[in-house]
Amino acid sequence: MPRTPRPSATFPAAVIEQIHELSDVGHYEIRGWGAKRAVPSFDDLTFLTSSLTRYPLEGYREAIDTTTVLGAGRAERPLVLDVPITIAGMSFGSLSAAAKEALGRAASAVGTSTTTGDGGMTPEERQASAKLVYQCLPSRYGFTPADLRVADAVEVVVGQGAKPGGGGMLLGQKVGERVAAMRTLPEGVDQRSASRHPDWTGPDDLRIKIDELREATDGQVPIFVKMGATRVPYDVKLAVAAGADVVVVDGMQGGTGATQDVFIEHTGIPTLPAVRQAAEALRDLDVHHDVQLIVSGGIRSGADVAKALALGADAVSIGVAALVALGCNRSTTTGDDRSPPEDVTDDYLALGATPGTCHHCHTGRCPVGITTQDPELEARLDVERASRRVENYLRSLTMELTTLARACGKSDVHNLEPEDLVALTVEAAAMAGVPLAGTSWVPGAGAGLP
C-alpha cells in the first residue's frame, strides 16, 4: 500500500517554494505589508469590565472624552486630536496621490492627523489634511524648510517596525515623473534610502537635530521621534533625553510599502510588549504626563486601540488598516459617479495574489489604485468614496473604543489602565505585564526584566 506523503515541519511547502524562488533569482524577496506570522497580540488580552464592584457609563446619556493632546509639554501649538487614532506615515510615491488625499480628507473629517512619508509633502495632502505631521527621514528626499514651517508636527523617523535598522525602499516601477522630481532622482530607477540619518547617529547628536527642528519651527509644533520596537526601554529613554515631545513606537507587525521579507518577519518585538515597555520607560523618567506615547503596528480594531491605551499609550497610529479601509485587498474598485465598481480579481492573480492575501505594494501594480503611480490604476480609486470608507472606519474604531471604555467605567478613554486587563495566554501575560486570567500571576513580574 502506498504511504501517505509526509510533509516536513522544518521544510513545509511555503519554505520549499521560497528556497526555489531564491535559488532562481539570487536575491532576497521584497514585499509590502507587515509580518504575516502569528505573534502574541492584543487579541490575547481581555477587559475586566464593570459588574458589581465597578459601574459602567451609559452609552447614550453619559459623555466620554476622546480628546487627545500630543506634545503639550513644550510646544506652543500642541497637536489636539478629537480621537486617539492617527494615520501613520506613508509616502507619496509608495501611495498614489489619490490615496494620500483620501486619507487626509478622512482624517480631517474625524479630527485627527495624517503623516507624510519618505519623499516629502504634496500640496494635495497638505490641503486635504487639517493636521499634518511632517516626517524627517534619513533620505531627506523632498524635505524642505518651507514645508517644515507649514507642518502641524515634525516626526524624526529613526526606524519603523517593519524594518528597524533598515532604510526606505521604492522600486523603480513606482518612481514616476512626479515622484522622481520631488526626490531629485532619476525616473524608473530603484530608490534605496539610507538606514542612518546623514547628520546624526545616537541620542547625543539627535539632541542637536531636535533643537534645530525646534528652532526652524519657532518652538510652535511638537517634535515626535519614531522608532521600530527593539530595545524599547533604552530607546524611549534616549528619545526623551534628546528632547522628544512625543515618542512613537512601531511594533514588529507594522507595515511597509516595500522591504526585504527577512526584515518584516525577523526583526523587532511585537507591539504588545513594546507598548508596556515604552509606557514604563516614560513612567520611570516621570515624564508620562509631559511626553506622549503613540504606538502602532497591527492595530485593527477599537479593541486594539482600547488595549493599547490601557497599557499606557496616549494614541495609536494605523497604516495597513487604513489602506484596507481604503479598499486594499478588496476584489472590486471603488467605482465612481460615472461607473460602477469593477471586479479586479484577475489583476490580483496576475501579481500572484488573491483579494485577501495581497502584499504586492512594492510592484506598483496595485489592483485597486492605492499603492501605484500608474495613472490608469490610480483612476480606480475614487477619492470621495475611498475617503468616506476611511472616515466610516475611523468612526467605527472610536465607537468600539468608547464602548469598551464606558463598560470599564471611564469618562475619558485615557483613564483605561493596565488593571482593566487580563491575559489569555502565559506569553501575553508576561509581555503585557498583566495577570493571566483567573489568577494573580504575572509571569516575570519583579524579575527586573527590561
Binding site: 464593570s50 458589581l52 464592584t53 465597578r54 459601574y55 457609563l57 451609559e58 453619559e62 513612567r283 516621570d286 470599564c408 467605567g409 471611564k410 469618562s411 475619558d412 483613564n415 489602565e417 493596565p418 488593571e419
Partner: protein, 225 residues
C-alpha cells in the same frame, strides 16, 4: 457599596447632642455596609474610630450617644475590591485632621495611586478611597482650600462617588458627574445632616422644617461649624 452619614452642629448650644443625633443616622446605614464601620468625631481635636463589624457595635463600644462635638462623619462599608480590615475602614485621614468618607468606586485609582507613590506618598491600604484621600491631602498641603481641593477631585479621579469630607471647622460634599451614588442633605435649625438615604434623617428633631435636597452632580457644598 457603602453608607455615609454626617452631622455638623452650627448652634453651639446643640453641640452636646452631636453623638446622640448622629448615632441613629450612622446605625441606619448598616444595611448598606455591614462589613465594617468608622467615624471621625470633631470637637476638641479629632478622634477616629474604626472597626470590623456593624455600626451598632462601634457606636455602643464608644458610647457615641454620650459624646458632644462640632461635627462627625461616619461610614458603613461593604467591601468591594479590597480586604475587610481595620486599615480598609473609612474615614481616611488626609493630613492630621481632614477626614474623608466615600460611597462608590473609582475606576482609575490604580493609575493615580502609581503617580502618587512615585512622588513618595505612602499608603496604609489597597483601598481606592484612600487614593482619593491622599490626592486631597496633596492639594490641601499645596495650599488649596477645602472646597477647591474637593472640586479638583474629578480632574484626576474617574468613576462614581459621593465624597463627604470634614475638617475641624467645615464639612463638605461632592457627587460624581453622573450623580450616580446617592446623598441627601438636610439643613436644619442649628445643624446640617447628610446620609446616603433619607430615612436615616427622618427622626431628626425639626426635620419637617429643614431644607432637604440632593446635591447636584459636581456641585461642592460646604458648611461651617
Amino acid at each position: 457599596m457603602c453608607g455615609i452619614a454626617g452631622l455638623l452642629i452650627t448652634d453651639p448650644d446643640q453641640r452636646p447632642q452631636l453623638g446622640a443625633l448622629l448615632a441613629p443616622i450612622f446605625e441606619a446605614m448598616t444595611p448598606r455596609g455591614p462589613d465594617s464601620a468608622g467615624l471621625a468625631l470633631y470637637g476638641d481635636g479629632v478622634e477616629v474610630h474604626k472597626q470590623v463589624g456593624p455600626a451598632t457595635k462601634l457606636t455602643a463600644d464608644m458610647a457615641l450617644a454620650d459624646r458632644g462635638g462640632t461635627c462627625g462623619i461616619a461610614h458603613t462599608r461593604m467591601a468591594t475590591e479590597s480586604a475587610v480590615t481595620t486599615e480598609g475602614c473609612h474615614p481616611f485621614m488626609a493630613g492630621d485632621d481632614v477626614g474623608l468618607v466615600h460611597n462608590g468606586s473609582f475606576s482609575n485609582y490604580a493609575t493615580v495611586r502609581r503617580d502618587l507613590a512615585a512622588t513618595g506618598v505612602s499608603f496604609d491600604s489597597d483601598n481606592d478611597s484612600e487614593v482619593c484621600c491622599r490626592l486631597l491631602a496633596e492639594q490641601l498641603a499645596a495650599g488649596a482650600g477645602l472646597a477647591e481641593a474637593l472640586g479638583s477631585v474629578p480632574d484626576r479621579m474617574d468613576g462614581f462617588y459621593t465624597l463627604l469630607v470634614a475638617t475641624p471647622s467645615e464639612m463638605a460634599i461632592l457627587r460624581d458627574p453622573a450623580g450616580c451614588k446617592p446623598a441627601v442633605v438636610a439643613e436644619g435649625s442649628g445643624w446640617v445632616a447628610v446620609a446616603s438615604e433619607y430615612h436615616a434623617l427622618s427622626e431628626l428633631p425639626g426635620i419637617d422644617e429643614a431644607h432637604v435636597f440632593e446635591p447636584a452632580p459636581l456641585e461642592v457644598h460646604t458648611w461651617r461649624a
